[in-house]
């Protein structure tokens, strides 16, 4: 699960100039090195995408076989039937992303600026919980959020749960099998993807700039708002994307922690493909999810003005 670590490392590293090699004779070398990996990605990533789109435009059944009929109505039918799942996915993923940013930022900030010699050890601690299986951790949340658990009793006795109830995130005195449980799981499981890019960009902020703001009579919080935060924007953008994209497509948290019958789009795609074997509808849902994410991400990246990120 330390996928974020790789990204953080990539964001972190400063390029050193490699020796210039004027080897015109070896023009084919880069392509030869590239070929096997690229071929793998083309055959097992790009081509399947084409098959996915083509499947979504077919009609037929598993037993009779499918034919390409450009039946675009599958999309409108799928959307009519599953629009609640779409809305839920993006709302849950959005809330989880904002929560992960709110709790991940102080952690990344503390590691970058306040940890001294413990920096390396703390970074390991951030990814350590993710050494163990994603599913087993999510199962553990089932115990943590069970009806008689400390967390749920605390939420009920302090009436914090009433606020969640008003927001429609929980029902009764329960937390398990509610949207709140799903969102908790999503926030938890994708938190390192937020913390590591945030840390990588905060690490690059020159502390002297913050000091300069203080010398110019900037209150600490104003200095943070006007200097530190804007400088950490690449990390914020990378972190929110790395949290939002997998969270929007996830269905494990929903099916282990959430309420049955209130699925996210991942649950719908999963059951349409594997249970109902309605391949065209399932493919249409997948294509729509991918398309929506691409559109949302491009709007977000262009609005936040960090196109050079990718």
């Amino acid at each position: 699960m330390s996928a974020g670590a790789a990204l953080a490392e990539a964001l972190e590293s400063e390029p050193h100039p490699a020796p210039k090699r004027g080897r015109l004779s070896n023009r084919r070398t880069p392509y030869l090195l590239l070929a096997p990996g690229m071929l793998w990605l083309i055959v097992f990533f790009v081509v399947p995408m084409v098959f996915l789109v083509s499947t979504s435009l077919q009609t037929g059944s598993v037993s009779e076989g499918y034919t390409l009929t450009f039946h675009v109505q599958t999309y409108s039918e799928a959307l009519r039937f599953y629009h609640a799942e779409f809305v839920r996915s993006f709302v849950y993923a959005g809330i989880a992303t904002v929560l992960a940013l709110l709790i991940g930022y102080p952690l990344a900030y503390a590691i970058a600026f306040r940890s001294g010699k413990w920096k390396g050890a703390l970074l390991i601690l951030v990814i350590a919980p993710f050494f163990t299986s994603f599913l087993i951790r999510t199962f553990a949340w089932k115990t943590l959020l069970a009806d008689d658990s400390i967390i749920v009793s605390f939420l009920n006795t302090t009436h914090i749960n009433s606020i969640f109830k008003l927001l429609g995130l929980t029902t009764g005195d329960r937390v398990l099998a509610t949207p709140l449980a799903t969102i908790t799981g999503l926030t938890y499981n994708f938190l390192p993807f937020m913390v590591l890019p945030l840390y990588a960009s905060l690490e690059r902020v020159d502390p002297r700039l913050i000091e300069a703001a203080g010398d110019l009579y900037c209150a600490p919080f104003t200095a943070f708002r006007k200097v530190t935060f804007p400088l950490s924007m690449p990390g914020v953008v990378a972190g929110t994307l790395l949290t939002f994209i997998p969270a929007a497509g996830d269905f494990i948290n929903q099916s282990l922690l959430g309420r049955a019958g209130e699925g996210m789009i991942g649950n719908a795609i999963d059951s349409a493909f594997l249970d109902q074997q309605d391949y065209p509808t399932a493919a249409a849902l997948s294509v729509t999810l991918m398309f929506t994410i691409v559109v949302l991400v491009s709007i977000y990246v262009s609005r936040s003005g960090t196109e050079e990120l990718v």
């Binding site: 390029p15 951030v126 599913l135 069970a146 997998p246 391949y279 999810l289």
Partner: protein
């Protein structure tokens, strides 16, 4: 005015003698660390549960209620039938790691050491799988495999899928390591009459190797832990995550927590040993 600047500076440099004492100012200056501590605690909450429940006395089929301390699950890991799926996950993980590390390292060298036509498209193709939700990758591969029914779904289709999504992460990790290299070391080798091949095998490759090892470990953990993509391409095969997920209905036995705890401690030890070895190399 000068004194204000001085005192602010002193406070910033956190010289303990000039800082006001007492619990409230201490809280104010350490608020970030306190919040960060709570966030770390939150991240470890499920780990405590996983480890605690791996010592649960096996009563009934589920493992949600605490029945008392017992070493039984640790002594009898295979008892619950998880060793078959675990073995399959290891096999797939090792094969997928070898293939993706090999292919990914070649790609990383090509992308970071050469300028050529199509380089940015290649970079884009590497980036795309990391930005695609797993459910889309899994389902699109399923539509491919369904159309080529002669490929039986199982071990090989899972391995193919895992190599596909591990590849990008390997490339990114190894590329970062190559970018961090000091190019002058290679120049020095060449100045001392080493030819390109010798320079590569005596200087470049040993320096990049820690990055390749890190990439391989990352690839293995991604493959070993994957549920979503695997679920779409597994056929009748059952990897460890599929087995765990299937237990959602039957009840997850404490042995799963044993595997979870063991994974946690073994990785933690590996990482700390790796850091220690890295430090000794630098010295």
């Amino acid at each position: 005015m000068a004194t204000t600047v001085e005192s602010r500076r002193a406070a910033r440099q956190s010289a303990p003698s000039t800082r006001p004492r007492g619990p409230i100012p201490w809280l104010r200056t350490h608020i970030v660390q306190i919040v960060a501590g709570f966030v770390l605690l939150y991240m470890f909450l499920p780990i405590f549960v996983v480890v605690q429940f791996s010592f649960n006395k096996p009563v009934g089929r589920t493992n949600y209620d605490w029945h008392g301390f017992s070493l039984e699950p640790w002594k009898n890991v295979c008892g619950s039938g998880l060793c078959g799926p675990l073995g399959l996950s290891f096999k797939i993980g090792i094969l997928a790691t070898i293939l993706s590390t090999l292919l990914g390292t070649l790609v990383a060298f090509s992308l970071s050491r050469y300028r050529f036509v199509g380089r940015s498209s290649a970079n884009l193709l590497i980036f795309l799988p990391m930005a695609t939700p797993e459910v889309v990758m899994g389902s699109s591969l399923l539509t491919l495999f369904v159309n080529f029914a002669f490929i039986p779904q199982g071990f090989w289709t899972i391995t193919i899928a895992h190599v596909m999504f591990c590849l990008s992460f390997v490339v990114v990790t190894v590329k970062a390591r190559i970018a961090g290299l000091d190019g002058r070391l290679e120049q020095a080798a060449m100045d001392l009459y080493a030819d390109e091949k010798t320079t590569f095998f005596k200087i470049t490759f040993p320096l990049v190797l820690p990055g390749i090892v890190a990439a391989a470990l990352l690839a293995f953990s991604l493959s070993f832990d994957d549920y979503i993509v695997t679920a779409f391409n597994s056929g009748q095969a059952q990897t460890f995550p599929l087995w765990v997920y299937g237990s959602n209905l039957r009840g997850l036995p404490a042995q799963a927590n044993v595997v979870g705890s063991a994974m946690f401690f073994v990785s933690l030890i590996l990482v700390f040993v790796g850091r220690f070895a890295g430090r000794r190399n630098k010295a």
